[in-house]
Symmetry: C2
Subunit: 190 residues, 2 copies
């Protein structure tokens, strides 16, 4: 029990990484471990893209920022509004200085894709923490619409990006932001 | 590393439980552990309902089955079509013989509710396995629409059920259904 509790504490959203590449084979190993995640009807709809090219990672960041800003222009209540200053700063990379980006994608029309890929993501990020790696699900980096860029990263037309996860060796492991007391709506005993 | 790998193997979708209640305090403890899950902007939109009353669990099963069957009548491509025989069998309880049902719910209009609650669910099910408990996310049990029943379980009008998770002491731990080789769409090295 203690070990798992400690792992939960160790898994933090890391945004500051050492300048040291993550071996692709290690990322593949983590992906292999995380396939033990449950999925709706054991459908395992998750697929993966592993990117270690920092130039490409920056271009994906620029593309995603551009699309979110354009969405915000049309919708005053856009959920990313609070990140507006960062998103309109051309030097801001949504993927920070991460040496590796692992994208989880799945079929756009499957009703369970987002939830199945989120279960996978939880397993993957814990598996990464278990090896001393930091990670962070960067939703601001998921808005890739340019057809050329989609082809470049191998994303099929009928697939959607669910979880762009940055991975790397942490410079420091941040402490956990405060958690609220769990809100239990009702307990109905037997 | 070994311990976490073993835990991933131990966490199976369990559908056959011992006739032994799960202490509510233990479920609360697991919920507390799982609040370390990440969520979009650390929003922690998850809320919980804990039910140990088998009669109520059966009524929730009946309500959910009824609504899925009615949805299937309107939609020939309904994703639950393959469960039609079970869903139209009045003796079938979608929650099996579980002594406890823990429901994760969140605000219906929040864009990240489903994904945030799925991340929580992954943590919760691993935390349960870490204590020797079995669990299973039963999506077939999430279609609760009757207003009286919603009030009875304390589900606010503007909230949706994301993950109904059964919990209990397993009779046996099933072996893992086969996983496919991970489908890596592309690797782009640095």
């Amino acid at each position: 029990m203690t070990d798992f509790s400690r792992l939960l504490e160790l898994r933090r959203s890391v945004r500051d990484y050492q300048d040291k590449p993550v071996p692709t084979d290690l990322v593949r190993e983590l992906i292999g471990q995380a396939t033990l995640a449950p999925s709706s009807g054991n459908g395992q709809p998750w697929k993966f893209i592993i990117i270690g090219d920092r130039g490409l990672i920056k271009r994906l960041s620029d593309e995603s920022k551009k699309n979110i800003v354009s969405d915000m222009d049309k919708n005053p209540d856009h959920p990313s509004r609070r990140y507006e200053a960062a998103l309109t700063n051309k030097d801001f990379n949504v993927f920070f200085n991460a040496p590796c980006l692992m994208i989880i994608a799945g079929p756009s029309t499957l009703y369970s894709t987002r939830v199945d890929c989120a279960l996978f993501a939880a397993y993957f990020m814990l598996a990464a923490a278990d090896r001393g790696l930091g990670s962070c699900w960067v939703n601001l980096g998921s808005h890739i619409r340019d057809e050329g860029l989609k082809r470049e990263i191998g994303l099929p037309d009928d697939h959607m990006i669910v979880a762009p996860i940055i991975v790397g060796w942490p410079k420091t492991i941040p402490s956990a932001p405060e958690r609220r007391q769990p809100q239990i709506l009702k307990i109905i005993e037997g």
